[in-house]
């Protein structure tokens, strides 16, 4: 509005100061958005997973196999529509630093079970099913190592000793960004044939007829195997993924604490800047009041200045965070797939900017409002 040139002129009086302060706010909010996104991404990861799929694992620990004989018994449980299974392979590709998920699964039933979560062209699917030593990889993984269809990939086994070579016959694309495209899957038979007396399913995946049956099905299965040598722990796929999130421990608390420290530090920078500016303008406040600007108007002008700096910094910082991560496909070495700044985080960031504006501008604004023109004019800086 019409007073804007006055506010703007004051802001540009000390361009460097205004720029540095705005950048500080931007940096702080960028950091805040990044930290909070670690938490939101972890939680989003915990929400990947269908409500109508369940995971059956060994109650002793995830590292224990379950008997193959459970397959028929699980299919027989009322409410269970389909069953598949898989084993964690944990292979190393050339260098331990190249970490990605590798696992063996009962190919056909597994692909059927997850057909809504990723896409695989029909011809690639057929090629993969036909060939025992074939594998499928996620699009992102393919791009990362510059592989192509038909290429041989050799993994060094950690749990299963030796070198294992697979031929890429299919490339899958995830339909949900939080679903990892960094995995390699091959046939369960491959490891079973090498160690027939040892290898069994690491976990089973069940398809429910109706998601509402989840609790009941879990209770049925776990009580059935409770007293056997291989007790089970059954839960929805979502709960299973959420379990991995809790393995991070106090991460939420840590991120939040640092976030607060960051915001507070920036508040100090912004408030200091506003204060420095205000001190230099005592005389002008006197002049404006003499001309007839009311106390309230002066209060508003100072607050507007603080507001512009805070909101300008917010747009810069939050905008940078939003623009940086998703397009560059940042995923923190695979730990945080689909890392992105959510709308909630942006809203919170803006809220902080508002609080920042008020907190840094309030004292100088009140001072400007309360200053008597006569005193102000007498003041020599």
């Amino acid at each position: 509005m019409k007073y804007f040139p006055l506010v703007w002129a004051n802001l540009t009086r000390h361009k460097r100061r205004t720029v540095l302060t705005t950048l500080s706010v931007a940096l702080a909010l960028f950091l805040f958005a990044s930290l909070r996104s670690v938490i939101t991404t972890l939680h989003a990861g915990a929400e990947v997973g269908s409500e109508s799929r369940m995971i059956v694992q060994s109650a002793k620990a995830i590292v224990f196999f379950l008997p193959m004989s459970y397959k028929e018994r699980l299919l027989a449980v009322p409410g269970v529509q389909a069953v598949t299974w898989a084993d964690w392979f944990g292979g190393v590709y050339q260098d331990p630093k190249n970490f990605f998920a590798s696992f063996a699964a009962d190919a056909e039933s597994y692909l059927d079970m997850y057909k809504t979560d990723f896409t695989l062209p029909a011809d690639q699917r057929t090629a993969f099913i036909k060939e025992r030593t074939a594998c499928i990889v996620g699009q992102h993984l393919l791009e990362k190592y510059g592989w192509h269809l038909g290429q041989n990939v050799t993994l060094q086994g950690t749990i299963f000793q030796g070198d294992w070579t697979f031929t890429i016959r299919g490339v899958y694309h995830a339909t949900d960004p939080a679903f990892s495209e960094d995995a390699l899957m091959f046939h369960y038979e491959v490891i079973y044939e090498r160690y027939p007396r040892w290898v069994q399913p690491g976990w089973y995946v069940l398809q429910l007829k109706d998601p509402a049956l989840a609790q009941q099905v879990a209770a049925t299965i776990d009580s059935e195997f409770k007293n056997s040598t291989d007790p089970t722990k059954t839960g929805t796929e979502r709960a299973f993924n959420a379990g991995f999130v809790t393995m991070w421990g106090n991460v939420s608390f840590l991120m939040n604490s640092i976030g607060m420290a960051v915001v507070f530090a920036i508040l100090l920078v912004a408030a200091n800047s506003m204060m420095l500016s205000a001190r230099e303008r005592t005389n002008e406040v006197g002049v404006l009041k003499t001309v007839g600007f009311s106390d309230r108007l002066l209060f508003g002008l100072v607050m507007a200045e603080a507001g512009i700096i805070a909101l300008g910094g917010a747009v810069l910082g939050l905008g940078a965070a939003k623009a940086l991560y998703r397009p560059t496909d940042f995923s923190a070495m695979g730990f945080l797939p689909g890392f992105d700044v959510t709308a909630g985080t942006l809203a919170l960031g803006l809220g902080i900017a508002v609080v920042l504006a008020v907190a840094s501008g309030l004292v100088p604004a009140l001072n400007a409002a309360r200053l008597s023109a006569v005193q102000a004019l007498r003041h020599v800086e």
């Binding site: 009086r13 009041k289 001309v291 600007f293 108007l297 004019l377």
Partner: protein, 223 residues
């Protein structure tokens, strides 16, 4: 007709629990269209009197009336409004906002009105015309000489067509030639535009430009 009426005006300050009486029981009138110079040694209270007439300060007792307004009794919000409409103030040290151009400085009082941008433009250019600085409208104060700055300040003081123009040592920081120009301008404002002017000064030369000179010494007024 008296535009400004002062009755029983008293003003004292507290300085470290010692009361300092500036003046006590002053009675004074200023006629509409008059040009008065107020002289006196420093500390005599002339600036204080000016501030009281402008509504920048409150008297300890007594009344100040300007036109219809009893300035001494108005609240700060009302005073701000009143000042915007009725008072043009010129300082010794010009007090232009360094971040604004001459145009923007003169425009300041008009921002407080409901005039449109175009209307404001007209008034500003008119005022700058009166002080003969229309060609410097886009210059910043640091690009102007002392005399030019003061003329811009006067333009700011008259742009909203105020009831009264108050000046506090307007030529104090100027050389003789610039001072003469300012005084000539003030005389024009008084004679051609019938502006009521009250000017505080310690320069007898400046006082000569006014129609009437008052002396204030230790709170006592002499003609």
């Amino acid at each position: 007709m008296a535009l400004v009426t002062i009755r029983g005006l008293s003003k004292s300050f507290q300085r470290d629990s010692q009361p300092i009486v500036v003046f006590d029981g002053l009675d004074l009138d200023f006629a509409e269209g008059s040009f008065t110079a107020l002289m006196g040694p420093s500390g005599s209270g002339k600036s204080t009197l000016l501030n009281l007439v402008a509504g920048l300060d409150r008297p300890t007792s007594g009344t100040v009336t300007v036109g219809d307004a009893e300035v001494s009794a108005m609240g700060p919000g009302a005073l701000a409004e009143w000042r915007a409409r009725h008072v043009g103030f010129v300082f010794q040290s010009y007090n232009l906002l360094p971040v604004l151009t001459a145009y923007q400085n003169v425009e300041l009082p008009l921002l407080l009105t409901r005039l449109s941008k175009a209307e404001r433009h007209d008034h500003v250019m008119t005022a700058l015309g009166v002080v003969a600085l229309t060609d410097r409208a886009e210059h910043f104060p640091r690009q102007l000489s002392g005399g030019q700055e003061q003329r811009v300040a006067i333009a700011r003081a008259v742009v909203s067509d105020p009831t009264i123009i108050l000046l506090d040592e307007p030529t104090g920081q100027l050389d003789a030639k610039s001072a003469a120009e300012i005084l000539e301008l003030l005389q024009r404002l008084n004679r051609e535009f019938h502006k009521t002017i009250l000017m505080v000064t310690h320069d007898p030369h400046a006082a000569q430009a006014a129609g009437r000179t008052l002396h204030l010494d230790k709170g006592v007024l002499t003609a």
